[in-house]
């Protein structure tokens, strides 16, 4: 709601108008949503009522943009930063973290999850242009610290190929995320026993645009499997797989038989608890702080 300033032609008219405006102002103050656009120049008009009032320009409205909050930007801490719960000296982890942050200043390691499609270029002396490029879906991320690895899988000329890359290997030249997404599980090893169409990705695939705010899209894809036997008994509750179409390949009896290996006490096992919330906060601040130090002069 904008307040229109009346032309100050008539003195008497002006003062009566001013009184009206004052009344309006008092009413308006009770509605806080118009605070930003409220100009207080009317008050000054009322104060300098004797003689021609000096023209004072209205105060600029203060616009507070509350649509883009800092909290909406996705906070991502790579899982290899979180140290495992071991009896090793924490100095080892902090020194390793320093090295990891140093490497990240040189090579940009983007945010990715298991189920994302990546393109990786690494130095290879046995290739013509020294660069060996591979595109694949990330099926596993393992290892902590500098030895962190991820496995990319693709079907090339009808042959399934998996390459286990080390994130902090000096031979890594470029890691590019072609499609950022998550799947229903955080370990897609069952793709080895799934139909090859679920693991084949074109090497010339173009990067798909993804948002830096909000949640990562989770693909609800459920995969069709090759006939049994599989490399592992994926139907067993130990693997807790949600991304396979079991109804197409297993009977109800087989599913119930698999439940025999269920360990219902596992979620209540207190010795397996590892709360990393406070650790993550502290490490996130450390990683952010060190990476910002580069930009500051």
């Amino acid at each position: 709601m904008f307040l229109v300033h009346t032309p100050l032609s008539n003195m008497a008219a002006c003062t009566s108008r001013v009184r009206e405006m004052m009344g309006l102002l008092r009413i308006l103050r009770h509605f806080p949503q118009n605070e930003r656009l409220l100009s207080t120049s009317i008050l000054r008009h009322a104060a300098a009522s004797d003689g021609p009032p000096k023209f004072t320009p209205p105060t600029k409205p203060v616009i507070i943009d509350k649509t883009q909050k800092e909290a909406s930007l996705r906070r991502f801490l790579s899982p290899e930063f979180i140290p495992p719960r071991q009896r090793t000296n924490p100095v080892k982890f902090s020194v390793e973290r320093k090295d990891m942050i140093q490497r990240r200043k040189v090579l940009n390691i983007p945010e990715f999850y298991v189920g994302s499609i990546l393109a990786v270029a690494m130095t290879d002396p046995h290739v013509n242009g020294n660069l060996n490029r591979f595109v694949g879906i990330c099926i596993q991320r393992s290892g902590k610290g500098l030895g962190a690895t991820f496995i990319l899988r693709n079907v090339v000329d009808g042959q399934g190929v998996e390459i286990c890359y080390e994130l902090y290997n000096p031979r890594m030249r470029k890691i590019e995320v072609l499609k950022l997404e998550k799947r229903l599980d955080d370990n897609l090893m069952y793709l080895r026993d799934a139909l090859p169409e679920y693991s084949s990705f074109n090497f010339d695939m173009q990067p798909v645009h993804y948002e830096i705010t909000g949640d990562v899209p989770v693909s609800p894809l459920k995969v069709k499997m090759k006939p049994k036997p599989w490399s592992k008994r994926w139907e067993r509750p130990k693997f807790n797989i949600k991304g396979i179409r079991f109804d197409l390949c297993l009977t109800l009896e087989m599913m119930e038989h698999a439940q025999k290996w269920a360990e219902p006490w596992r979620p209540y096992d207190m010795l397996k608890e590892y709360d990393t919330f406070s650790l993550e906060e502290q490490i996130f601040k450390e990683v952010q702080g060190k990476s910002q130090n580069v930009n500051s002069p």
Partner: protein, 141 residues
């Protein structure tokens, strides 16, 4: 999606393999069934038994990429070179979903004229011995 299979005998839909398949234990060794990936006549001829390794030419009996082996195909002995196996190897090297092999002569020349399957690039360091084999390879991974 409703299961429309209730009341119907399912075994036909769920095909089971007749032999047991265990996970890769030690790459390629004696009696491993291998897959010949070149376009040689001997490798692609259909036989009622898959080609099997009967000897591995290494100090231990374990064959990795780049090792020579002796195969039994179609009732005859033939030498071959391993170009990929199911067992995970060195960190930045590829791992294949099948044990791949290329048929070879005594002097190291390949029997076939083309290799369609992908070959690991670290095989290139055997440039001197298997240069002809690397020349006929179409794709490197």
């Amino acid at each position: 999606m409703a299961l429309s299979l209730s009341g119907v005998i399912l075994p036909k839909l769920i095909q089971q393999r007749a032999f047991s398949v265990s996970s890769a234990v030690a790459a390629v060794q004696k009696l491993t069934r291998v897959r010949v990936v070149d376009n040689s006549a001997l490798g692609n001829a259909h036989h009622h038994r898959p080609p099997k390794v009967i000897h591995v030419y290494t100090k231990n009996g374990i064959g990795k990429v780049g090792d020579r082996v002796l195969l039994a195909i179609k009732g005859q002995k033939k030498k071959a070179l391993i170009v990929g196996h199911k067992m995970p190897g060195a960190r930045m090297t590829p791992r294949f979903d099948s044990n791949n092999v290329v048929l070879i002569e005594e002097n190291g020349n390949p029997t076939g004229t083309r290799i369609k399957a992908p070959i690991p690039t670290h095989l290139r360091k055997m440039e001197g011995e298997y240069s002809k084999l690397l020349a006929i390879a179409q794709r490197f991974v």
